[in-house]
Every structure is written in C-alpha cells, then in structure tokens.
Symmetry: D2
Subunit: 356 residues, 4 copies
C-alpha cells in the first residue's frame, strides 16, 4: 500500500520524478461547474519556481501546467482533473556521480533499503520537485476556497536565528523575497561557504466557519499536521499556542468566550481557531519548521552503496535557504486540507433534508 | 465522511462517549495466529486510568476490557477484533449544569456548531475517555511489534517550566508518577488554586528496521504527526531535531553516514530515525506538546448557548496535569502507526516472488 | 488489509462470529439529529431471525439489538453508532465434530488456508450469523432513506424451478412466508430428504432522484453488485434487463426518453433506473441469485483437515431454503449502498455555494 | 466523493474524456523491481482498439501508451506509474448535434442531472474510451500476475441468441474476430439496418492459490462483480454455477472435496473457485452480460435538454457488437482485482514473522 494520494473527499494523487518525463497529478472529487482560472494556477506554480531569487538554486525551468482532463469550456465537469508539468531541464548526467553514494540526510539510503532500486537522478521521487504537483493541486483547491472567502497566507517568521516579526515588511512575493540587511549578509556568507540554513513558516487561514473538522482521528489540526509533515524538510508542526503551551497554566491558556454583536468568539486564540478538532470560527494559525537543505557545496564524509567511506563533493544545484520557496507549498497543502474537510463536512442531500 | 477510523492496513475504529454505555473499538486487519496476552492489554489500560496519582482527577473506574470477537482459544483468527470497556462510573447528573453553557477551550461550542446537537455529559464524544479505545487498540498493536523486537517508550520531558532531563529517575509508572520536589511543590500549589499546567512528552521507538514509511504523503513522520495531533490537548509535534532545526546550518544538521561493522548508520540523529519519510534503522525520536487541561476548579467567564454572559464554576473532576496519563496514549497511537506502516510495507505474495 | 468495512461516506464495520460472544457493528458517518426509531430497527432484525417459518433452521434466539454509542436522547449525535447483539444460543459443543473436517461448499477449507487458524464453531466468522450486523446497519440506513421517501422492497421471484410472478400474493412477511401449494409440497419433500434449494430475489428501489452514483468505478450498479455479491450464498447479480440483454437488439433495448408533465422519464426501463452508473429517476431494479444452502441433513463425502476421506453426517441446524431469510439482508445492503451514495453525492458547503 | 480510483493495495486512478487531450491513469502501489515489458502493455492496448474488425466502429487511432513516471531503466521503482494515451482522432465538431439532445440509454441525461454540466463530445467521461486506461492499468497488473503463473482468459460465449460453446474455434484475437457463418450473417444484417446486439463473455482465472479474498465485504467474488459491473454496458455478473444455482438442490450443487495426490481439490466446481469469499485453488470462473450498444444508425425518438420531443438521427461511429472489444477490458479489470487482492493478502514483515 503506497501513499501517493492525499485527501478523502478531494483526493490528489501525484506522480513524477525529478528527472523523469513529467511531474503531475490527478485531482478527483473536485466539484463541477467551477470556473478554472488557469492564470491563477500558473501564478501559484511560478511562486515555487527555483531560481526565483539569488539564494535559491539556479535551475531554470519554465514550469508550465497542462490540464489534460476534467475541464470543459473553462469549467470543471466533475470528472477527474489530470495535469502535468514536463521536466524540460533534465540533465541526468549531472547526477551520474551520485549513483553509488548515499548523500547525508537525503533519502538515497532509505529508498534503496525500501525499494531495492533507486532512481538516483536528482533524488528521483524523493526530490522536492514532487511538490510541483502539490502546488498545482493546491491551486485548484484555492479556487474552491476563494468562493467561500477562505484565504490562506503563509509567511516566513524565522530564518536561522533571525525572527521576522513584521512579516509585511520582511517578505515580498512578487518577484523576489527581500529580507532585512542582517539576514541578507548572513545568507550571503552561507552562500560563500556552501552551507544552508533552516527556518520557520507561519500560516493563517481566515474565513473558516465554525464546524470544519472530523473527530476523533481526522481532527482539523491532525490533518494539517499530516499535510505539513509530508512536505520535504519539515521537522515540526504546532498550532495556536504550540509548544509554548507546555509552560502555561490553564488559567492563562483558556480562551474565554464572548458574544460580539451576536457572534460567539474567543478573546484570545491559544486554540489557534480549532477546539476539539473542529474550527471555531476564529483565525486558524499554525507554524512549520524547516530543516536546512541537505545539499551542501562543501565536502562531506559519507559511505558508498557498498559501505565504503568516501567524500561527497559539493556539486550541482544548491538552495541556501529553501524556506521562501516553501511558502506556496505550505499554502497548497493547507488548501488541500481545507477543501477536503470542507467537502467532507457534507450537508448533502440526505443530511440537508434531515436538518430542515 | 466522519473520521473515527485510523490506519489503512491495520484499522482501528473507535466508538463511545464519556457517559454513554461503553467505549470501545474494532480492530480490522490484525494478523491471524498471534497470541493475545489479555493481561498485557489490561495492564496498558490500567496505565491511563484516572486517579492513578494524587494530581489526577478522582474518577475511579475499574476499566476492564472485554473482547467480543476475533480471538479463538487465545489466538487471533484474522477476523475483526471488537472490544469494549463499560462506563460504570456514569453520573450524568453531575453534568446537568453544563447543558446550557460553553466551557472555555473545550469542544462544547464546536460540537454544537458542527452537529447541531451535543451530548453534554462530560464532553460526550470529545472527552478524553475516548482514549480508552486507543490504548486498547494500541496494546494489540504492541503485541505485534514486540514479536519483531520493536519497542516504544514515552516519557515526560517537561512539566510547566521544569525540564526533566533524566527521565529514568523522574518518572515511574508502577503505581504513581513521582517528580522531583520542586515540581511536586509547584503541582501542589496549582491544585490548591484549582489551576492546571501543560507539558511535553518525548517518545522513542527502537528496533525499527530501515524501510518503513510510505512517501510521498504517508511518510512515517506524517503518520506519526497525525496520530499525535489527533490526541486531545496536543498542540505540537516535532521529530529528530524538531523546531531547533530552524536555527541550524546544514553542515551541523546533516547526519553523516558511517559503516559500523557492516551496518550503515549515522553518527548523529538529527533525522530522528527517518529520512525521506522512511525509517533508516536508527532510533526514532519525537516530542509532543500538551496544553494545560481546560477544566479548572476556579470561576471562569464564558457564554451560555444562547450567547449570554455567565460564570462557569469549578466543579467535578480535575486533572492538575494530564501529561502522566497521556504516556500510554502516546505509546498506543505510536504503536498503531508502526504496526499499520509495518503491515503496509508488504512483501506479500506477489512482491515477495518478484524480489527473489 | 482486511475487508470488514463497507461504504465510503457511511461506513459500516462489522464484527463477530457465529458462536462468539456477540455480533455487531460500528456505523460511522451517520448524520446527526436523526430520530432513531429503535423499534423499527428491532423489527428489521426480527425479519431475518432463524426459525421464522417451518422451513428454516430451528435455532431460537431472541436477537435484541443494544446500541452502545452515538445516540443521545433518541437522536443521532454524529458520533459513531456502535451496536451489538449477544449470542445467547451458543452451543459450541454441537460443532466439536466439525473441528477436523472440511464441509463441502462451506468456507472451512479456505479460511484454514488463508488464516492458518479456524474458529470451527458454526462457521465462525464465515457464518450467515454475521448478517445480523448488516441488517442492523441497514436499518439505520433505511431511517435516513425514508426521510427522503426512498423505499426498498425485496421479494422472492424464484424458488428452485418455481417462478413467483405475483409477489404480492406469494410472499407474506408478517409471521411466516407462505408460498403456493406446489412449492410447499416441494419444500416439504426436500425437508424430508435433508436437501436444500436455491432461489432468486428481486429488489426494487423507488423514490431515488436522478444523479446518484459515482462513475467511473463506483457506479451505482457496481456498488450494488458488490454489496449483493458480498452476501453469503449469492452467485449472481443483474440489473434492469440483466442477462437477457445479451439476446436483445439495441433497437429493442434502448429506453426512449419522454417528457411526462415536465419530467423527463423513459418509456421502458431496461436500464433498471441507472444510466452511465448514475440513477435516472426511474425505479431501480435488480435480481440476486442464491445457491442452495450447503448444510445438508444427509451423508456427504469429504476430507478431513489432514486430507483423509471421511463421511460428513447431517447434524445440527438446517435451512431448506435460505431465500426468505435473505430478504431483509438484501434490503439492508441495498440501503447501505443508497445511503452511502446519497451522502457521497454531496452538495456540501463548498459545492453548494458553487452551484448557486 | 468521486469514484475514479479502483483497488486498495494496488490503486488505479483514471482520467480523461473521449475527445479531451488524453486518457490515462496513475497506478499506485505497484511493487518495485518488476521488469516492465512495454511491448506487452502496448499489445494489450491494441486488442481493444476500435476498427479492429469490420463490425466495429471505424474510428482509427494509433493508441500509443506513454509512461511518464515510476519506471527507471526498464524496472518499476515503487513510485506511482503514470501513463497516458493522447486522443489524436478528436473531431468534436462531429458531436455538435448532440449538444442539446439526450441520446437514449446513454449517460447524457444522468451526467447533466448530476453535474449540471456535460462534455457532450462523444460521451465525454462516460465514453467507453475511458477503458483505455483500464486496459493499460490491467496490463501492468498482468505483468505481476504472470510472475506467479496466474493467467486470465476471457472469451465470447454468446452473441445475441447464438451460444459459442467452442470458444477455441470461434474467436481469434490476432487480427480479427471470426465467428461462424450464421453469426456473421446475423451481424451483417444488423449492420445494414444500423442496429446492435448484446452478448456474454466468460472468463477464467487459472493458477490462483487458495487463500485470496477478504471477507466479509471484500470477498473475491464481490470485488470481481464490482469490477465487471463498473464496465460500460455490463448488465449482469455471475460466478461458478451463477443464476442456474437457483434451480439446483444442495445435493447437486455442493462441491465434494477430494485428495488428489496430497492436494485438496473439489470434484465439481459450482463454487467457481471461490468459497466463503476466498479462492480455494480451483479455476475461478465467471460470466458477464453486455447489453447491445446504445448508438444506433437509425432514427430514434428522444427529447432535447429542454424537454422537447425530437428525432435523433443515426450518425458518427457505430459498433454492431461491442463484445469482442470488451474482451481485453474484462481481462484487465480481472487482473486489477487479482493483483490488488494478492497484494492485500500480505504476509508482510509483521505477519511473516508471526507465521514462522
């Protein structure tokens, strides 16, 4: 039983390897009669493109989405939506030197152990290139959510030891990601030494009505956690008060209910918009930790596939900090969770009748 | 589409409310011919029992598991295993005063919003009593894992602001959980004021061979995260280096491979035993943050179901710190994930043939 | 991966063996706020009871359903509904002689081959007693469907070589099933010789609106076929024109559309109410073939578990014709399919908005 | 919740419309390290091609499979296998006249009712062209099954009123399907009048060991029935004795066990190789009824989308009898079921240990 599908009511199945023919996916369960704004989907894809700013790896690809099915005259038909992006920038020869070596903290060793075979070209299936399909699928999900005024916003809140408390000023998406001068100096130094750095992304979801989430196992935070932890390089997830809750008293942590012009809200939001696994109508907030990228432009000790010591040379593409490129991926996976949970929260024909 | 089942190859479906007739579950996909050690399962259940130590709530229940099916002459038959624990200590009248009020940071409000009806007796389905079924199901999973020398060990690593760096000396399971004298004083003060406190549980899994985990969505850490985040009161999950990775450089964070007497291992374990979503044969490590319990023995402001301001009096049962009781729950959910992923990692009849 | 759950939006998981402690199930995804008419559910259960008429086996059980969860003050809460029926009439000693023998056309041999262990008491999990849980689960589904005026009616249309073309007069459910005198004579003779006979059940579903069914794999007829073929003793399924279609020309078989007072209908119904896997608003019709029961009151040749020839004596309980008792089972599985497909046909919160 | 995925351990998700860009699928759960014989897969696809013989529709397409992922250096990697076939012969203008009319016994009306939108070009998603992806997916499954010496053979056993009792002589696959002269005359007459005819396909599976199938809902016959009933134009399914069992006595129908040189077998095979939902090691046999194709080359009464009476002219492509082209589709769906059930029948790492 493999695990390349995500969601229960809205199911995204992805495929493709870093240096295969194409990466893509099939989205099943997408409602019919939705206008498919292809420009929006392409713009989402552009946000994760490598080479977007000078700290990212210089792979240049025109990642163009092609929709193969499920859309007719600009609207969804209810049939599965298949899409793909061809891999134009295939240079498998670049990876010949990785055929017989296990790169530290990559998936080379574990894939070989699990499958007994490994597509060593750029990480194969374990490459972050796989997230192209997530961003595409998530863009479709956003089209649904936008109809309900549900919006998702991911921003960088930490790079290395630097907190970015004013996200508005610190991060711009339009063409490049711009940080304050201290961080830029720090990143430039890393680039020179061939090193990398981790970071934290914060994400908020606004406009979610109370009632979304499926206890006891598919609680909203559980599905969000799974979605985030399935992204390459993610090492931690927390929502609302997060890990800080461990040091808090109940009397500090409890969110007091209040009646605000007929609407029940909470005064604080340590719950992060979710109580008992179900949205409570407040803003949903969570944070995701990304490790430093494992590909370094420096010599590293490691072993060959036959277990001999060797030195891995820094070579090929290199992201000093993957966090900026991860923003659209975090948003895409969030959108997939919210659309899936929204559709699961059926008040379909049987239930609707009963509720009346 | 509700969410009361967990797992894909080994599926636990749970049922039951805090003050209903019984809580229990059905475990489908459990292999046949396994000896079912009922004493072990009962002993696991005893570990989560309320009233275990003087900081926990004084509800006294003899939670006795009854197995209804799937076991014949002491061995599993391959048929679904149904089990239940009757709720003997039902005092629904104790909860009459909660019928019309939304308790802060509980699930009262969200359940009412989602379902349009609410079993207000002790939290109904949203009560932590639901975890009885998780502990039972997890105990069966442990029986499987123990056959393969896979062991799971959860320990408390933080209570409030107190780190417990030497778990061996700090926590004992046998009859009570004993902490150092500073923490005990702190907890006693909380008890007097009617307040509660959060904490962190660390968990390790030993004996897992390389190759367990199903990319790209059902990565091992993704399934563990979902399992943990589905537990009541959990606000955060991290594995390996966790959130600390954000401030680390790649050159510090990468785990160097080495050949130790013919076995490939890593010198450090920032990966927490998982690379690319698949176990690498090292110890698996993760941490889980628990918020302070929301039930306080003090007055709290809140609103009634009709939106009027009211004061909620402290009354009923009260856990100063739920973390000790959460240890078997963390282990149980871990066991369910590991057994499920182990069974999914089929080298069943078709694959086995192919591998030869 | 076992297979003891049925449905995707409304999921019934069943458990229990013929001579275990209890048989029962958990129904997850049942909408909240539905009045649960326990008398109706019990009355459905009574319809499948053995010993109902003089042709059925003389096992006498007061099968009483107990609901353990998911219902509060007479209404469903949205939490999983667990129910069970205790096995009061356990006589495992009656089956001691079957421990070492494989009964012809029963599941003894295949269960032993598959699981390496076999609960030989009355067929264990493979016993038709398992259908108690199906009838219970189906009764809940009927409660939903009745709210939408969807009705299911199964009737016997063939016993052995006898067609029952006028089901109204031929079959009565109230206390006993009464056939015409020819059939009664035939069944009496079978009873004397210890033999059994097969039959065919026809089922109709009325009130289904157009639009139910999920192409391309979960077409309505595909789900109905799976449901029926999963019932013990069923050997065939056909809908609409069924196998007779093979000898028909398209010009005879096509159902001509017509406009009947503003409603589009078909003049004939060879489609059996389903076109392209989706209901078309006409009556849904299908037929199910049941083999003669394998338990005979006569000597039969067979082999022991160690492969030696032996004679199996007729002994224990005996149904001359299982078809009358199968009527509520066919209806129950039909109800589960229709409720599941109805709930899957979500026009939930995202879709509903889009449709407006 | 849409229904475009099939299988649980080996999951095929299909996409594509008759006159869209491409039809294809993603196969997840396919074991790694299997040699992928692309010529075999293409040859399977060629078998379902239209225009194969003079009774089939004259659409000429070179359906060439392209594999996008999951195969590396000729072997499967364990990653999802995506494949597609481009639709070269798109002539949407041919279907402009169908935009506003509901063709009798097609899915035009039901798709419009369900989705509120309809891709009217050649049936869109409801077209039999969708089966290209089934045949491709099934060809991969056959590669697995062949390694275990499991073979599937579908043959025509009835065309209209003509039984084909000697399938060896009656049906040839290589270039054309040749029938006896009576049938050919009959088909030629149908072609002249623009009419169509139904038929029955019989299928056998050999080499299946005892133990495959997952009671109580995913019995082997239940999965086979669902697979067959999900194919366009199928109206009935029966296995072993099938509908004929209704007129049989238990003493005739029971399959007597015997010991044949140390192997337990049955003397007859009314069980069709399946008992209690699990294969018993005998040949598996079933039959599938196909209705006459709904597209006729004659005038038919029908209604427009606005409900007005109209005459539908015969126009476009026309299959006198779809049964020959359905042979590879029946085999493909059978292969998908058998591979899925084979992989589900895991004796993976936990179970294997336990069995020793």
């Amino acid at each position: 039983m493999a695990g390349n599908s995500f969601g229960k009511a809205l199911v995204l199945t992805t495929f493709g390897e870093s240096h295969g023919i194409a990466v893509g996916g099939v989205l099943d369960g997408f409602p019919s009669n939705i206008n498919i704004d292809i420009d929006f989907i392409q713009s989402e894809l552009n946000r994760r493109r490598p080479g977007l700013d000078f700290f990212s790896s210089p792979r240049h690809e025109d990642d163009l989405i092609e929709i193969l099915s499920g859309v007719f005259e600009g609207r969804s038909t209810g049939a599965p939506i298949a899409f793909l992006v061809y891999n134009h920038d295939q240079k498998p020869a670049d990876y010949e030197h990785l055929k017989d070596v296990y790169r530290p903290s990559h998936a080379d060793f574990t894939y070989q152990q699990k499958y007994g075979i490994r597509d060593y070209r750029g990480g194969g299936r374990s490459s972050a290139r796989e997230t192209v399909a997530r961003v595409d699928g998530g863009a479709f999900a956003k089209l649904l959510l936008h109809q309900r005024k549900i919006n998702i916003n991911a921003r960088i809140s930490q790079i290395g030891g630097y907190a970015l408390n004013d996200p508005g000023s610190a991060v711009h998406y339009e063409k490049t990601v711009i940080f304050n001068s201290d961080i830029i100096r720090f990143l430039e130094e890393l680039k020179i030494t061939g090193d990398t750095i981790g970071g934290i992304i914060s994400c908020t979801i606004t406009g979610v009505p109370a009632g979304i989430g499926e206890p006891v196992f598919d609680k909203l935070q559980a599905d969000l956690a799974k979605a985030m932890m399935s992204i390459n390089a993610v090492k931690g997830f927390e929502y609302g008060s997060g890990f800080a809750c461990a040091a808090m008293k109940g009397s500090e942590h409890n969110d007091v209910f209040t009646n605000e012009a007929g609407k029940i809200r909470t005064l604080s939001n340590n719950s992060g918009g979710i109580q008992g696994g179900i949205s409570n109508g407040m803003e949903i907030t969570f944070r995701v930790a990304f490790k430093p990228a494992s590909t370094l432009m420096m010599d590293q000790e490691t072993v060959t596939v036959s277990g001999e010591k060797t030195i891995l040379k820094g070579k090929g593409r290199h992201d000093v900090c993957v966090v900026p490129r991860a923003l659209p991926i975090v948003e895409a996976m969030t959108a997939l969770v919210m659309a899936d949970q929204g559709l699961r929260n059926s008040d379909g024909f049987l239930l609707r009748k009963a509720m009346k």
